[in-house]
């Protein structure tokens, strides 16, 4: 092969893509042709310069943001409200409070609106020391009710100044031992 044909093969030969017969021809030629050998060196130099682009590093955070972007597109997530549980609790508490308040109001209203019931007791004259308490409309079949008076509780004697005092000596019987 002549120089023109060989130079046409150099671009692929420099990258290692030549077929076997082309490779043999190029190697045989450049061994004896300095001009074609220089041409081959130029292709190799261009290859080396291209290979320099393999080096380098991406800006910081590139791959993290790459995944973030892909995930947000493919797996969109609902925004989670961190105070959601608090809101729910407050909501339930408010509903409970309103319920209790309504219940109390209904109860109070019922008590106020209740008429003097037929069973309202009326005091009558004491019978045998007991206070008979009978409904206003007492029927003979109804049993009589009596209120037993509470036993009187004697309060301890208290002097005006608030102190307790022993009996006076003069109040003791004559001849009694004064052992105090």
């Amino acid at each position: 092969m002549g120089c023109e044909e060989i130079r046409d093969l150099l671009a692929l030969y420099a990258g290692g893509e030549s077929y076997d017969n082309e490779r043999v021809a190029v190697e045989a030629h450049v061994a004896v042709c300095a001009a074609c050998a220089r041409e081959l060196d130029h292709f190799r130099e261009a290859g080396v310069n291209l290979a320099r682009l393999r080096e380098g590093s991406a800006p910081p955070g590139t791959f993290k943001s790459l995944w973030t972007g892909v995930r947000s597109d493919l797996f969109p997530r609902k925004t989670v409200d961190r105070s959601g549980w608090l809101d729910a609790s407050l909501r339930y508490a408010a509903v409970t409070m309103v319920g209790i308040a309504i219940g109390v109001l209904i109860h109070v209203a019922e008590r106020r609106e209740a008429p003097p019931a037929a069973g309202t007791v009326a005091a009558t004259a004491p019978v045998n020391g007991l206070m008979p308490v009978q409904p206003a409309t007492l029927t003979p079949s109804q049993p009589r009710l009596f209120l037993r008076p509470q036993p009187r509780v004697t309060a301890p004697r208290v002097e005006l100044d608030g102190n307790y005092y022993l009996p006076r000596v003069e109040s003791l019987p004559a001849g009694a031992a004064k052992d105090f």
């Binding site: 320099r52 590093s57 800006p59 943001s65 995930r71 597109d73």
Partner: protein, 193 residues
């Protein structure tokens, strides 16, 4: 033939499991991002394209045949999105010169060397950016990402011979641009092949 673990992962994705999506994405996101970046020369646009590619893949993963290679399907979507974007944008505006090589390189920390690398990378991007999208795609996939011609033919959806032709043309064009020779870029058709 895809490996069993990946098939299992894809099947979990087809069930709509978020954890499986994340695992699959973590496996491929860097490659997808750098393909997009090398084709578009802009960090933000690359991230946008990568995100769009994964969204499209995950939306259509239910129809994916697990007997096929997942990664070629994913990279095909990525490259097509990049080509569409390149055609919409004017080439000069896609180059993010300030961003090229401006970040930490794994190489030596010598400031002079880092500055030289940065400049070289910027020049490579500018030269790449002048290539028609089809040539830029095969050059990126082969010389920067290191895919085989067979893999590239699956990704770009053409025959192995067409890939070789585009590579041949792309390398010649790139070299001419790199050396500052006046070149006629022309259209990106595979005319003559």
């Amino acid at each position: 033939m895809p490996e069993a673990a990946e098939v299992s992962l894809i099947k979990r994705c087809q069930e709509g499991r978020e954890d499986a999506f994340r695992e699959l994405m973590e496996k491929y996101q860097r490659r997808v991002y750098w393909i997009a970046y090398n084709m578009l020369s802009n960090y933000d646009t690359a991230r946008e394209i990568a995100q769009e590619a994964f969204i499209r893949v995950f939306r259509n993963i239910g129809r994916f045949d697990v007997k096929k290679n997942f990664y070629t399907w994913l990279y095909q979507i990525t490259v097509n999105l990049c080509i569409d974007r390149m055609r919409k944008l004017s080439h000069g505006k896609t180059v993010d010169i300030d961003g090229i090589g401006g970040l930490a390189d794994p190489g030596p920390r010598d400031p002079a060397e880092t500055g030289e690398r940065t400049e070289t990378r910027a020049r490579v991007h500018v030269a790449l950016d002048r290539l028609p999208p089809k040539y830029k795609a095969v050059l990126t996939l082969r010389d920067i990402q290191g895919f085989s011609c067979e893999e590239i033919s699956e990704i770009v959806g053409c025959t192995n011979a067409t890939v070789r032709w585009r590579l041949h043309r792309a390398r010649k064009l790139f070299r001419a641009i790199w050396e500052g020779k006046g070149v006629e870029i022309g259209d990106d058709s595979d005319a003559g092949f």
